[in-house]
């Protein structure tokens, strides 16, 4: 029985797909667009995440000292902390030199601050073994005696976090809207198929065809449309990402800013997830349609 019904189901699906070719194509395209946007944002997100981690890991804790601080004692305390990788003492003179370097051509602006007039405090630069240890270490260090101020570029990291949160929120909204639109289009496609075969469906009902026997072909049709859209999206995204990583990525400028995610497990699970989602959207749309229009 199952095999028989399956055959019937597939034949009906093919017929419907051919008959509703353009609407089906539009639905698939809509699904593709929403999945491309979703997938695009996901790819941006994993890359941003990775970049953030890289940036964070290069972040040093700047520990500014009061004039009377006991430098030897502090150095010992720092080395005694768990998770500290490297400790470097930067005297106020060295700090000024480094500052001058960052000023470059305009270093003359700092001309009046040498020797006695140097406003900079002595400091330690502390590097953590892992990025996520940075905030905790910074807190501990701030309680050490003779510490004037501790900073680790938290503002920078926070801005990065906030920006990605907003981007994610907007992307999420766009994906929800587009996704709902795509599902609605599927509902319409399937409804047209249903209307085109309303009489047949009625006859099937009077001959005692089960719900799933009647619904099966329509749900399958929706899933095929959804999967087609997802395949399109995966193809476009995959090709675009490959292009970005290989062709653009070779330019040193781009590589300097971002280290693209190339771990196939990450990329493939994103693309695979998109395929599943397309299938799900198609199935969901057609289910909504058959539920609404196929009551006994």
């Amino acid at each position: 029985m199952a095999l028989n019904s399956l055959w019937y189901c597939m034949r009906q699906t093919c017929t419907s797909l051919v008959r509703n070719f353009w609407l089906g194509t539009a639905s698939a395209a809509m699904i593709a667009v929403s999945l491309i946007i979703l997938g695009g944002f996901l790819l941006v997100a994993v890359n941003a995440n990775q970049s953030m981690r890289i940036i964070e890991s290069t972040v040093e804790i700047n520990m500014f000292l009061e004039d009377e601080a006991d430098i030897r004692d502090l150095r010992q305390r720092l080395h005694a902390l768990d998770g500290v990788e490297e400790v470097r003492f930067v005297s106020k003179e060295q700090g000024l030199r480094e500052l001058k370097e960052t000023f470059g051509e305009r270093r003359d602006l700092l001309a009046g601050f040498e020797g006695e007039n140097n406003p900079l405090p002595d400091s330690f630069r502390v590097r953590a073994e892992q990025a996520d240890l940075v905030p905790g270490l910074a807190r501990q260090i701030s309680f050490f005696p003779g510490v004037y101020k501790v900073s680790y570029g938290q503002e920078y990291v926070e801005i990065l976090v906030r920006v990605t949160q907003w981007v994610n929120l907007i992307a999420f909204g766009a994906v929800i809207l587009l996704g709902a639109g795509a599902v609605f289009l599927i509902v319409t496609t399937i409804r047209l198929s249903l209307l085109a075969r309303q009489d047949e469906i009625g006859i099937m009902r009077y001959l005692g065809a089960s719900n799933w026997y009647v619904r099966g072909p329509f749900v399958l049709e929706g899933m095929v449309v959804g999967l087609a859209g997802a395949c399109l999206a995966v193809g476009v995204l995959g090709a675009a990402y490959y292009y970005l990583v290989t062709v653009l990525g070779r330019s040193p400028l781009v590589l300097f800013f971002v280290q693209p995610v190339t771990d196939p497990r990450v990329i493939l699970s994103i693309l695979g997830g998109l395929l599943g989602l397309g299938l799900l959207m198609g199935g969901l749309g057609s289910l909504i349609s058959v539920r609404k229009f196929l009551r006994v």
Binding site: M1, N4, S5, Y8, T15, D199, E200, G202, I203, M204, R205, Y206, L207, G208, A209, S210, N211, Y213, V296
Partner: protein, 228 residues
Amino acid sequence: MIELYNVSKVYESGVKAVTDINLRIAKGEFVFLVGPSGAGKSTLTKLIFREQLPTTGQIFFRGRNILRFKGREVLQLRRQIGIVFQDFRLLPRKTVFENVAFALEVIGRPRKEIRRRVPVALAQVGLSGKEDAFPDQLSGGEQQRVGIARAIVKRPLVILADEPTGNLDPGTSREIMDLFEQINRDGATVIIATHAWDIVNRMRKRVVALENGRLVYDEEQGSYSHGA
């Protein structure tokens, strides 16, 4: 097998199609449902396989109240009945063979059985050779016989035929009625709504007559004298 108690049907349009019908049909009976056009014969058949729900009254099939049936039970009910529709209701995009096969597909019969049984049913209604025709390539009478083949092919417990010979010539009508009689002898309960008074009178079966939706006559080995 089938029991109706005080069954009335008022369509949304306000038409009282059947009124206060009490009727019991036992297993293995052969019943003609007669009456002038608009008397409510089709409505009565539709009530039995739950195409329509009665406005009041109760209907039992094999001892169970079909008005309480839900989804699956409704389908089970219809699977046990071979229905011949007055308006044929063939699937226009399927061939004759596929239309008849469909009745078996729907109830999940295996392909082998379908290939064996469909030609037999088509031969019984005299349509051998028309397997690959589409319904719109057939005459009215041929379409009607496809509908009959579809109803009998699954060997149902009950045959419910609405004007099965309405488009057939007297000779073919008689053959079809003989076929129903044979199916009845094999154990099926047969209910036939018809105007064909000559056949009714010749076959001497139970006759139930409706007029203006009311049951006016119910006789074993009855006859049909109310005119065609």
